[in-house]
Symmetry: D4
Subunit: 166 residues, 8 copies
């Protein structure tokens, strides 16, 4: 794989794949959340349209490399999550990125309306935090410590809401 | 739980929850796919609006009962998947049911646009088959035999496409 | 209730509930209108997804606490008004908050498209003023002085329009 | 009033107004629900565009005639609820009727997006049942027996859901 | 009429009516175009919801006062053009004003989707220039000098396009 | 003009132009309404895309031929009304025809969103009746008998509404 | 290539690729138009999601096999045209197929909103005829006889319109 | 042709036509891409509505003048691409320009939803780069050196993606 790698990649369990380097800010919350939970991950820029072979190979090899969940983000005619899902039976989570003209409605429909046979688990437009939480929830199926952390995280969320001064 | 139970429930791993009994036909493909894969599941009708306490309790108790993934289907102002997700850290898969007036656009947006903190893994409108395949993919994280079945399933899908006479 | 309270709460008749503290500015007009009409109210931040139990309990106890109308505001997959309405037979008014990507269309559809049995009285996107006026209109059913005030308010609205210089 | 009257009108508390006689079937559930709850109502066909004077006069005189809540249904450029609300401070509930070409999206937006000052309590597209339940909820502010009936109604709803065989 | 009047009103042929004083800037091009063509007009702020009686009376009296075309602009649940059209058989031109949350889609549908019997001649969102040109075109039916001016105007438009340097 | 002509064409005042012969049923109400009002008209099938020269020539020659108003109906990428309006300063009324896939939303936007300089008076999707009434309203500027007929027509509309039994 | 082939394939110039055998009827007009023009073509069912490798290989080998234009049709999250375009620099024409719930709006946006670098020439929803005409227009760049046929075709279109009896 | 010409016009192969001079910035990427590929082109401002005759004549004469592909950009009720396509059998590529109120959804539908018989090859909203790449792809049918350049361009695109640091 020629794509550049980033930190926290010893034995990555989650592969975050971006369709375009310009979407990196939208995905930042996924990165920070996975770090907060101590989940090793890797970060890739791979395009369904500009680097189709690399994208497919990434999906094809992910399972063997120890990846358990893929998060894929793309905008506009957002094919990346579906194209990755076509080459792996790992859970693929799709993040529709808000687009310039249609505000992400195009991204959302391009990702969520997958045909029967190849699912993509779609989260909200620019929903990177939830993509990572969903990945952690999936990983927690065989990692009780992650499940416990998720419960603490939810508790903190609740406390923050209840403690809000308005 | 007072809600009626259906077949295949010895040690259910997947809980399929419908917001309305009238959506049962749309969910049929989830049922048949889970059966085909030999995944035990249960089927419930529980409404976020008409039986909120039962719905929340279902989500709250699911993990302890051995459920590993929840599939929730609803239409219109489709709150069920989000409300269940609020009470469990298990992965919750949302199926937007096609609605009478807005064709499921309302269902889709009500399910997918969840706020940060509580994800719902959304599939296509009336995407029950993919909901069950996603559930199986998640379950397969610690069940290699399911992963193998998923790969065979994909192979059959491909063969069906390639064998089509047009 | 652990949620923080604000002013004007001796014998609150209206409960204003926000799904997120970040929506407080959008709700300000409701607050100021209720004050202008001298209607006691309380202000809560309670999330259908992050604090589901508190939200449900709030709705369940509202009637006994003397609340007569609930105003609930939320954005995106806006479940709060519907979830509160599920636990009370008091009138619940829903305010769709303008969302970042879809401009509140998601909020509106998530709130207004409720299934038969559990109504939410929906006002315009970011329509906090009208939510409070609708609450006052409902309260005025047994409070003639409020009805009189509403009529004066309408008169002033008209005078302002007719006096506009353009 | 020259408009034709229908049954159950001794001391009507709710005025159901239709923009077009062709929408009568969509409003049937409102009629039957009000009957079920024993709430006297009247039924009118009055158009904001074809009979504007009658429509405005109806709204203007409603309060003095003892009407406490108005339900107004219209489709397309659905101005009736807003036009009635302009002439009364009674609560006005708007029912967007599903339209032929745009499926009621036009009706919904025409009704719900009211400017500050004149609220319309909007329910779902073709949401006649909920319009009547909301009217009953409003009336129940000073009629404890209606509130009790609403609670029984909700209980029955829940039982129906929980008893569903799927 | 209590509403404030503006310049150029000796024998106004066109009545420009705004639903809100805040829309005055969007209508400025109509004003300047009518002045350029030497068509006398008047400018009113009259709301279908806040001053319904004045609005209806305006439409009712317009013909007798010598008005030949009405231009009405409104945003959101934009009822003004339709409500005026309900009280006059003069041509009524509707200008959907771009709204804050839905960008004028609500305004457009509220104005254009009129039921059979009462037409509103709708122009583009924020299409004030075209509203005035359409009014002039209608007036020119019996004023050959206006028709000639329209033709010169079109010629100038063409020359401007053809002379553009890009 | 090679295009086929139909009845009622002695001195036609209104030209009804269809983009496609398949839209003829949607335009029938315009035909019958004009007949009812005794307004002579002609009926043409002329396509902006398949017969652009004929379409433009029609618009160019209409005024000299005594036509005073043009009604143009088209669906999908509905360019006909705008293309005709580009070649005449007569009032052009656009009728968006309901389209197969997008229900006329494409037709509506293609017709109503005209750039500044060349207006099209747009009516509702499939709004042929209103197109003809708007044409009659425009013609009535110098024909008092048509104005009187329009007022009678409105009266009958009102009586029909008020006489409805529901 | 394992995919089934159909008639008219001696030296195919156009490759028609369907995402699903169920879309074959929508593509029939492309087939018949190409036959009418005497353009050799081939017909394939290849899915971006179910047979990604075959789809990519098809695009990759198309140029060498003599294919000059590819027509790809798909519905829902319609990735096929974009995925093929990613693997060839031949012109790829995308046909959005009308989908069950969202009427093809999802298909259209998934196909047309391609990122910079990899274009797809998109035609109307279910626009198979135009897809084939566009392919012929492209082929005619070096085939004068096709260009001549296209002109005759246009002439016949015009004659059909002008000869319509309405 | 009176329209102003710009650089790089010796033997132009591509005609870029803008509906409005104000859209020139959106089209800049088409200009620079064609220059980069060494494809001679011309740049025109011609409006379907303000200069219909010039627009049609441009399309009619394009083929004889050596133009092989036309790129047409327009916003709102974007008729220019379709109107040009009506007068030539050359491939016409449509670029929907993002519009002020509806963000280009109106432009897109006005361009892409062409009726059978006259295709427009539509690219993404503000997709000028892809319009020029599609033109080059079409031209490359008989210019192997362009095809080779396109392949190099794709390679560079891929390298840029793979070299991104995130």
């Amino acid at each position: 794989m020629a794509a550049k790698k980033t930190t926290n990649e010893s034995a990555p369990l989650v592969g975050i794949v971006l369709g375009s380097a310009s979407d990196v800010d939208q995905l930042e919350p996924a990165r920070s959340t996975l770090k907060e939970f101590g989940v090793p991950f890797e970060f890739r820029v791979l395009s369904a349209h500009r680097t189709p072979d690399h994208a497919l190979r990434y999906a094809e090899e992910a399972e063997a490399r120890g990846i358990e969940v893929i998060i894929a983000a793309a905008g506009g005619a957002a094919h990346l999550p579906g194209v990755l899902a076509a080459k792996t039976v790992l859970p693929v989570i799709g993040v529709p990125v808000k687009s310039k003209s249609l505000n992400g409605l195009d991204s959302l429909l391009s990702i969520v309306q997958m045909p029967a046979g190849v699912p993509v688990a779609t989260v909200a437009i620019d929903g990177a935090t939830n993509a990572s939480l969903l990945a952690i929830s999936i990983l927690s199926g065989k990692r009780p410590e992650l499940r416990a952390k998720l419960k603490r995280y939810r508790k903190q969320l609740a406390e923050k809401v209840l403690g809000a001064r308005v």
